[in-house]
Amino acid sequence: MISEFLAASFFSVFAISVLLCYRAGKILNLSLSSISTLGAYLHFNPFLATLLGIFAGFLLHESTKKLEIARATIFSLGLAIAIEEILRIIFKKEYIITHVQILELFGENVIWNHFIAGIISISFLFLFFSFLFSKKSKTLKIVEEDYELAEIYGIKTERARKIILSFTGGLIALISSFYNQGIIYPTIGWQNLIFATVIATVANVFKEKSYLFAIIFAVVIICLQKFFL
């Protein structure tokens, strides 16, 4: 059950990042897929992975800040493919097998890396929600509402967007560098993104509650898999 729980936390963070980029960043950030792949390939150096992730996010923001959502999304798709192909050319190998340590928790075997990824994800979720339930969260809500309004309220929307895109980029790279099944290949990122997007979409129906529901759905779907599916 613990490993499912860790998986759920990983995917809820992923889904929340997708939501943040879409709702506040006004972009359907497809490049998160390759950023995740990037993280996985750089599993030996999570710090570097995070830096590159942040850089990718920053690059995305800088080049799309003036674009409307459709073009921005196209750009993120282009960026995603570019990163993926570059990784493919650099790491010219069929598969990369990472050595995994097994950790025993309450009589259940858990992969050590997943455990770390889980810890990071959960601590992020904790911080994020303590932010959501604080007064400051109003700024986020206004930014989500619309940018012009936010500007009137004196919020630097561009800065906010920059922070959101870079941060999600770094975060995804970081947790992905820990959360892998011990075998790495160029399409894992897309698999994560597709699953996360599914969760994000369903959650997005619930407007400003969507972040909370992202977690709920992640947990529900993954546990469903364990018991019924």
Partner: protein, 274 residues
């Protein structure tokens, strides 16, 4: 009107002189160009951004492969879009995208007495590329003219009105659902026909017709080509040639080239931005 259709016709005249291979790629480009047209009717005139255009595309292709006599049923899948539009414009892209992923996965289970599944079905109806090319080109031009006329016509105007403001539309006596249905239906018909042409072109249908590549294709093609009915074909050509043509010349780098072009066209400022 002529100024819009002429460049397209000219473009269609080039490939036959450049050999089988280019002709074949152009054929794919035209088929997907038709798909892009159907997407633009939903996006441009009715304001519904769909990432699920691969659904009518793929379904019609499958129906043709399984039982050609039922192909006329294909456009019925506009009901899918109608149902998904309940979620509202902002959620529509997501909803359609998920549905397309779902159909993509589901199509792996479609087996008829042991055949099908992930291997897909082969299409009985087989034609030489030249014939299909001629057909596709003609159909594209017909639809192009049809859509240009439509968007100028009264009903086109009403569709745009509903797109702009549904309450205002109601207050002057337009029923939004009616016009949405109309737009979705036409769009589905066009997408279905492009799917059928696609299936005939490859004489084989496999789950990949539902893959995100086709779900995103119209969006990409139309965005990098200025989002007008008569320009989308150029975008379609560009994407197809970048993704298919250079596979043998630089198998390593052709995808990177594609990504670069995507990024470039995304950030490029157009003469007058729509």
């Amino acid at each position: 009107m002529l100024a819009k259709v002429l460049p397209v016709i000219l473009l269609f005249f080039i490939p036959p002189f450049l050999g089988n291979y280019v002709l074949f790629l152009s054929l794919i480009a035209i088929n997907l160009g038709i798909l892009t047209l159907s997407w633009q009717l939903m996006e441009k005139d009715s304001g519904w951004i769909s990432f699920g255009q691969s659904i009518p595309f793929g379904i019609s292709a499958y129906i043709l492969a399984i039982n050609p006599y039922l192909t006329f049923l294909a456009p019925v899948n506009f009901l899918i879009f109608l149902f998904l539009s309940v979620f509202g414009k902002s959620l529509f892209p997501f909803a359609t995208f998920i549905t397309s992923i779902a159909t993509w996965q589901a199509s792996n289970y479609l087996t008829i007495n042991g055949k099908g599944g992930e291997e897909g079905f082969s299409v009985a109806l087989q034609l030489p590329s030249e014939k299909i090319y001629l057909a596709s080109a003609t159909i594209f031009i017909v639809f192009l003219i049809l859509l240009e006329v439509l968007s100028k016509s009264k009903i086109g105007l009403k569709i745009k009105a509903v797109r702009d403001n549904e309450i205002a539309a109601k207050s002057i006596g337009l029923d939004p659902i009616k016009y949405r249905m109309f737009a979705f239906f036409i769009s589905s018909v066009i997408a279905s026909i492009s799917g059928i042409l696609h299936a005939i072109t490859f004489s084989h249908v496999s789950p990949s017709v539902f893959s995100p590549f086709y779900a995103l294709f119209p969006f990409v093609a139309s965005t990098i080509s200025y989002g007008k009915y008569y320009t989308c074909i150029f975008g379609s050509f560009l994407v197809v040639f970048l993704t298919h043509a250079l596979t043998a010349i630089f198998p390593e780098a052709h995808y990177i080239l594609y990504s670069v072009v995507l990024m470039f066209f995304a950030v490029m400022k157009y003469a007058k931005d729509s």
